[in-house]
Subunit: 309 residues, 2 copies
């Protein structure tokens, strides 16, 4: 195994993940913390990064490639957006160098859809796409990337042709925490109630306009008939995921395969949802995708000489 | 004008409204406060009520009729529910007497729809219906009662045949306050941006499954194109009201008139929404409806002798 070649960082709103990589894209060391953009904006981005580099004993000259919210306006250095249709290799050209640093540090840009009728932005997910599909994918792909802000991306001719963000995860948190539904989900454990979840997905998928009523029924059902906190939580989750799937899959050719880029609990939930609707799926781990995306970027920037040539 | 005959109270989750009435249903005195169920559960329901009765100098023997959350399980005395199909006059029969009080105090029950496939509850709105439609309405009515939890009610043969609650108002508050959209609506003034609101209603009505995407676009639009906080707020509001209308009106005969029971800003917004969709409307003021409903209840209980006979 060859020695360290560069450092890859996925710097989100609320999480920080760093990998020390060799030229072959293998992981030599790893750091995780909750020092996302919000926390780092207070503590200082440079010092947060340096503390993790020090903890791994990273040599002074090793370069760093970063994706995510560190490149937002409220982040470290604004890395802007490249516009749709955005070829995946264009992401590299938009990388911004953080000035005044001892080592070379580059932050990758996001992607913007500057369509006044359907404006949208992503930051971080473009790097997952780069990892899952490569720099110049020949095949068409329809990609679902669940999360706080779920992204649905249509990739055609190597480029992000179109995408749409759904506030599914954030609406789930707000509904379960800040509304009357908090009484229904209080004390729910780790176990997923797959039956309640699947039924809610199917019901919302069939009648998406009912969403705000399906959510209230969670409370009414518990008042009138009882039921577990897990069933309540999964019904809320299934309702919101069900309408997201209805928006993206209802008029879709059922035979086409969707690529799901997700990890952990979310991956599990979306897999159950897709199965329930009999929609074929390829699953890619989200963390692996972002790491591979950063590796692809680093290789193109520092090894192939494509950018610095 | 005749002297005081009874006291009517609308006791909601977060608001308290009291009227001193004469036998003819005229208002002789009025009190309002934010001592709703939540606050009164701490301060004590009896003492909150007494303080307002004292402030108006209400005679000791005058009876009190109450509707709303004071009759919930977490309220003063649980007044239970009458079940659908619920004749409006059944509400009176379900009134519960608060024991151990110097004067006669009755709390009206709510209505429950004990359908495991579409469970639902209301508490307070049944009294608005009693006020808007009377004790024994002959005509069929489709009623929209917007609010934190909007109710859509089908009245047939004098009874609440069916109803559905939409968490529209509460989802609006949670989305505007507790999600990334809070950045977009911050500092919005009182003025309603009717254009933004109407456009959002039409768009969500046409494609309700897109709701969670239409909400995110509010943030993306402001990032990429700018725009006012009022436009952002009304787009969120219009999106949520638009899907509520889609659930209730999409497959409805367009010629049928809907009764809207609402007050203030909400009345204004829903009127704009219905106009935008060219749906004819009868508007009834919500506060007047609840007061008239309590008056109808009081008359039936204490004057007609129907209940105490």
């Amino acid at each position: 195994m060859s020695g360290p070649s560069y450092v890859a960082v996925d710097w989100g709103t609320s999480s920080f993940r760093l990998w020390l990589m060799n030229a072959g894209g293998q992981v030599l060391g790893e750091r995780r913390s909750d020092q996302g953009m919000t926390a780092a904006a207070k503590a200082g981005f440079a010092s947060v990064l340096q503390s993790h580099l020090d903890a791994l004993g990273v040599p002074a000259g090793l370069p760093v490639v970063i994706c995510g919210m560190a490149g937002a306006r409220q982040g470290w250095v604004e890395a802007g957006y490249i516009d749709t249709p955005a070829h995946l290799s264009d992401i590299l050209k938009g990388a911004v160098v953080v000035s005044g640093q001892a080592r070379e540090i580059r932050i990758l840009p996001g992607i913007a859809q500057r369509d006044i009728a359907a404006p949208d932005v992503m930051r971080g997910e473009e790097t997952q796409l780069l990892g899952a599909l490569g720099l110049d994918p020949a095949d068409a792909a329809d990609v679902c990337m669940p999360g706080t802000h779920s992204k649905w991306v249509r990739v055609r001719g190597g480029a992000v042709a179109r995408f749409a963000t759904f506030m599914t995860g954030e609406l789930f948190s707000a509904a379960a925490r800040d509304t009357i539904l908090s009484h229904a989900v209080g004390g729910a454990g780790e176990t997923i109630d797959s039956d309640a979840f699947g039924a809610a997905v199917a019901e919302a998928f069939a009648a998406p306009a009912l969403a705000a009523n399906l959510l209230f029924r969670v409370r009414a059902r518990q008042l009138l008939f009882g039921g577990s906190a897990e069933a309540a939580r999964e019904t809320i989750s299934g309702t919101l995921i069900g309408i997201e799937l209805a928006a993206n899959l209802a008029e879709r050719e059922r035979a086409t395969r969707v690529m799901l880029i997700a990890s952990g609990r979310l991956q599990r939930l979306y897999q159950i949802a897709f199965e329930r609707l009999s929609i074929p799926l390829n699953v890619v781990d989200a963390e692996e995708a972002v790491r591979r995306g950063l590796a692809n970027a680093a290789a193109a920037i520092w090894q192939d000489g494509r950018i610095n040539a």
